[in-house]
């Protein structure tokens, strides 16, 4: 009982003399600093699990506050880069219809990049006459890594594989890049399959996390 009284007294002292209260810490870093778990059973974090409605902000835990870990709003109006970004790119005067490893300047360690809506104009993909039976090239759009100056970047590749263009005219590619912050995306890289000249197959190496 005496011990409890002492603690109560200490608590009183903190509550009234100092503007800062520490629980399990002698050096509180805010008005209230709880070195341990905090359970708030209603209103702020509600145990009845209220859901957001109308306009809302997502919450993030900041890594660059002192002390670390301040809960902040994700407000894209105040950020140059959002978790999901798109912008349009027009590539003029392309060597016929081939774009090979064109550096986007976006590092693979920071961004996952995808191409959508790539359209080829200003020249016409032609027939490939170098094959014994003349053939059309397959429309192909890919992002591949390219390393320069010790860093690896996402690069754009666009083509009608092997087709070239009518009269070898240079064309224009218009595309949209979707750029995702790596913090949001699990990049599983590549996994492969072989359907052995059949029409169907079953994957044998799907990443465990996706099964």
């Amino acid at each position: 009982m005496k011990k409890i009284t002492t603690i109560l007294l200490v608590a009183c002292t903190s509550l009234n003399i100092s503007a800062q209260v520490g629980i399990n810490t002698k050096t509180p870093q805010g008005t209230l600093d709880v070195s341990g778990g905090t359970l708030i059973e209603s209103y702020v974090i509600d145990t009845v699990n209220s859901h957001t409605s109308g306009n809302y902000y997502l919450l993030t835990r900041s890594k660059d506050t002192t002390p670390i870990g301040k809960v902040k709003l994700l407000d894209i109006a105040l950020r140059n880069v959002a978790p999901v970004n798109t912008y349009n790119i027009t590539l003029k005067n392309v060597s016929q219809d081939d774009v090979v490893s064109l550096n986007t300047g976006l590092e693979t360690s920071k961004y996952v990049v995808a191409i959508t809506g790539a359209v080829f104009t200003d020249a016409t993909p032609g027939v490939n006459t170098t094959t014994s039976i003349k053939s059309f090239g397959a429309y192909s759009t890919e992002i591949t890594p390219v390393t320069t100056g010790g860093k690896t970047y996402n690069a754009v590749n666009l083509s009608f594989q092997g087709a070239g263009t009518t009269s070898a005219q240079n064309g224009t590619w218009s595309l949209t890049l979707c750029v995702y912050e790596k913090a949001l995306v699990k990049d599983w890289g590549t996994y492969t399959g072989d359907i052995n000249s059949s029409f169907t197959g079953i994957s044998t190496n799907t990443p465990i996390g996706l099964q």
Binding site: T31, G36, I45, T104, G105, T176
Partner: protein, 220 residues
């Protein structure tokens, strides 16, 4: 002095301290965490020194819509951050679609076409293309032209092949005029997207671009 004591008494009516394991309860005699508040709490800012172990079974994202921490619920109408939707457009003529208004609000969402298929109206994918729309083998092919664009505050879709006509592969006489286009769309909510990034145009000078670099938008 008398006033100060009264204040202290009021504080202690609901404050419980467990001396054995230094747990503090407010309006609860059995605190289950270091600080257990059974009631409203107000603070100007909140820090999580150690947000705890990873939630491996999914859990919920947190969001705030008033001044409280709430659960992000993707199933509520108009609240999902990622909205995946298949759009099927039928009655499409051989010339394809030049402008279909999806009526998806461009101020609230960013819409991306992930993939698509062109079909006959009965679902068969036996669709051929006639470059030049002239019924002649031109030894040329038109680029797919399937994308979204913003117009009058909503997202629109175009889906055709440059300078080409869709044909029925089995009977390519150019008379079939009733195609179907399936589009698999992702609509990202504005809360997590940036759409006002400037377009970039680059002249590759007749090269394939492998020795060149695009200008990265500012901020990336």
């Amino acid at each position: 002095m008398n006033r100060k004591i009264n204040t202290l008494i009021i504080i202690f009516i609901g404050l419980f301290i467990n001396a054995q394991n230094t747990k503090v309860g407010i309006k609860t005699a059995n605190p289950t965490e270091t600080l257990d508040v059974n009631g409203s709490s107000y603070t100007n800012s909140l820090y999580l020194r150690n947000p705890g172990e990873p939630d491996k079974t999914g859990g919920h994202f947190l969001a705030t819509s008033k001044n409280t921490l709430d659960l992000y619920d993707p199933t509520l109408e108009s609240s999902g951050l990622f909205n995946y939707i298949k759009l099927t457009i039928s009655g499409v003529p051989a010339t394809g679609i030049t402008d279909y208004d999806t009526k998806i609000d461009a101020t609230k969402f960013l819409v991306v076409v992930h993939n698509y298929s062109f079909q006959l109206n009965n679902g068969s994918t036996k669709v051929a293309l006639d470059y030049g729309s002239n019924g002649v083998n031109d030894n040329k092919q038109g680029s797919p032209n399937v994308n979204t664009f913003k117009s009058n505050g909503t997202w629109h879709i175009r889906a055709n092949f440059i300078n080409s006509k869709l044909m029925d592969y089995i009977n390519p006489d150019g008379t079939y005029n009733n195609f179907k286009v399936n589009l698999y769309l992702m609509a990202y909510k504005y809360l997590i997207t940036k759409q006002n990034i400037n377009d970039d145009t680059k002249d590759l000078g007749g090269t394939n671009g492998s020795t060149q670099a695009l200008s990265k938008p500012s901020g990336f």
